[in-house]
């Protein structure tokens, strides 16, 4: 990083003797250095976090139309970080779908680096994902550049129930609870957080969560869903898909 130094500091007087900066000049130097970095002192703040579902029509990759009668999640904690999610996570459709399998990423698994912790909410929440919006609580955080967040799913897991229909076949299902063994990391949340009022909305994309479920492959049964079946496997992979979760800042 290049910092511009006031010329008075570096100049020599005509006698060739270095001129020592005054106390006032030192203060100015410090101030200039500070502002030249574009930095501001991080200050503590709180902001609300709410949870909402998204997804619209729920149609799986294998062509099943899903109607949910229950969608619940037991959330444990939300944490915010400075590190941005590499654009491998951005599901930006292109003309050729094969070209956006991986659009951009560090050339190595594990390319996501959380960076500095910026905020956290440790209050557990049982959320009904069929409700338009559920308040989670107040996040304790600091001002600064936010790049991502992670969500811990608590022991109650994520559980969906409803029916899936394809052609003339209808399957009633209940996934039972699935709790990912690790926090769902690398959830996109980019915002330059200052002291302005606003809130974060955590959107849970139910379409992505059910997209891999093939209700023709339910193993020993769909209600409750056989936890060794490919359909359950698809459900679990959907829950763990960090693109199914997204944070956005909402100003009032």
């Amino acid at each position: 990083m290049t910092r511009r130094i006031p010329s008075a500091i570096n100049s020599e007087d005509l006698a060739g003797r270095p001129r020592l900066p005054s106390r006032r000049t030192w203060l100015l130097l410090v101030a200039l250095s500070f502002f030249s970095c574009g930095g501001t002192v991080a200050s503590r703040r709180t902001f609300p976090l709410v949870v909402s579902p998204a997804g619209g029509a729920l149609v799986t990759d294998s062509g099943w139309t899903v109607t949910l009668t229950s969608a619940r999640a037991s959330l444990g904690a939300a944490r915010f970080y400075s590190g941005k999610v590499p654009s491998i996570a951005r599901r930006t459709p292109r003309i050729n779908p094969l070209e956006w399998l991986v659009s951009s990423a560090w050339a190595h698994p594990g390319h996501y680096v959380p960076g500095e912790a910026m905020g956290e909410l440790l209050r557990p929440l049982e959320v009904d994902l069929l409700q338009a919006e559920t308040a989670w609580g107040e996040v304790s955080g600091v001002t600064g550049a936010y790049g991502s967040m992670e969500v811990t799913v608590a022991a109650g897991g994520v559980r969906l129930a409803g029916t899936a229909t394809k052609d003339t076949q209808t399957v009633s299902f209940d996934t039972g609870a699935f709790t990912p063994p690790a926090a769902i990391q690398a959830i996109v949340f980019e915002h330059q957080m200052d002291t302005s009022s606003g809130r974060v909305r955590l959107t849970v994309d139910l379409r992505t969560i059910v997209s891999r479920m093939d209700f023709a492959q339910v193993g020993a049964g769909a209600n409750p869903l056989d936890s060794t079946s490919p359909a359950f496997n698809g459900f679990a992979r959907g829950v763990e898909d960090s693109s199914a979760w997204r944070g956005t800042w909402e100003a009032p």
Binding site: A105, R237, G238
Partner: protein, 278 residues
């Protein structure tokens, strides 16, 4: 008098301008490609499920090497791509440039893309392999075998992925490369052959596995084809393996390998670049 001396120094410096240096660009597949990928052990990272892999061909089309600065200034760019077989021992020099402006070129990029007619074979590579890449429009071609407890599976996979490796950096050398005045610098475009077999696209805990690929040999003829990999949905594999992180569009083992092939390009050993699909 002293001031006059300083003035002369300044005038001389202004008249000289920046110097030049030499840059040699090489590529290397390291031991994983030359010797093979072993079983995981305390001494070396390898397959955790007991398989070993030996490559017989590891053909890569390397081109578009470019020096630039983050300020936007563009330096020299590679004109024609080179095709190399990284199974042959030792690093291969792709090309060298004399009279590269001495500077810190902090935005270095290169491409691994489909072979065009202008591409040439470099180093110890068979003419038939060069032709294979050109006629197939391939960027990467790997051929070899995997072995475990007397069972052997062959694979021969070609990929036409067009990938730009941009903003290359290395922990030891920093961003890009610095060309010293009158000096010579070497940049190695390192290819990591183990990446084909990672079991996760995002987790830093990703491990090398082959069992799922071996099991994909549906006709049990001993050869694993890309079509057979396409028939294996990730939902048929154990949870905790072949995680896709946020790349939700990766559904099959073929998709998965196709995503991993975009991660083989590295920079000066363990250095990394931002991999961009094109």
């Amino acid at each position: 008098m002293k001031r006059l001396g300083w003035l002369m120094v300044l005038l001389l410096a202004a008249g000289c301008g920046p110097g030049v240096g030499t840059l040699s660009v090489t590529t290397w597949g390291e031991a994983y490609i030359e010797d093979g990928i072993p079983v995981d052990s305390a001494q070396v990272t390898g397959f955790v499920d007991g398989w070993t892999v030996k490559y017989e061909r590891f053909l890569v089309v390397l081109g578009e090497f470019s020096l630039a600065k983050k300020t936007g200034e563009q330096g020299p760019k590679q004109q024609a791509a080179g095709i190399v077989n990284l199974v042959k021992p030792g690093p291969v020099e792709l090309f060298s440039w004399k009279d590269v402006p001495a500077a810190k070129w902090d935005r270095v990029s290169y491409g691994i893309g489909p072979a065009k007619s202008s591409a040439t074979g470099i180093g110890a590579i068979d003419a038939s392999d060069v032709e294979r890449m050109k006629t197939g429009g391939l960027a990467v071609y790997v051929e070899g075998s995997a072995t475990k407890n007397g069972t052997s599976k062959r694979f021969a996979w070609g990929f036409a992925n067009d990938t730009l490796y941009d903003e290359c950096t290395n922990m030891d050398y920093g961003d890009g490369v610095t060309i010293p005045t009158g000096g010579q610098e070497v940049v190695q475009l390192t290819i990591h052959g183990d990446h084909f077999f990672y079991d996760d696209l995002e987790s830093p805990e990703a491990k090398l596995r082959f069992q799922a690929l071996a099991d994909a040999d549906a006709d049990a003829d001993g050869a694993i084809t890309l079509d057979e990999l396409a028939a294996v949905q990730l939902t048929s594999l154990p949870l905790g393996q072949y995680g896709t992180g946020s790349a939700g569009s990766v559904k099959s083992l073929k998709d998965f390998i196709g995503a991993l092939v975009r991660t083989i390009g590295h920079y000066r050993g363990e250095g990394e670049c931002v991999s961009k699909a094109r």
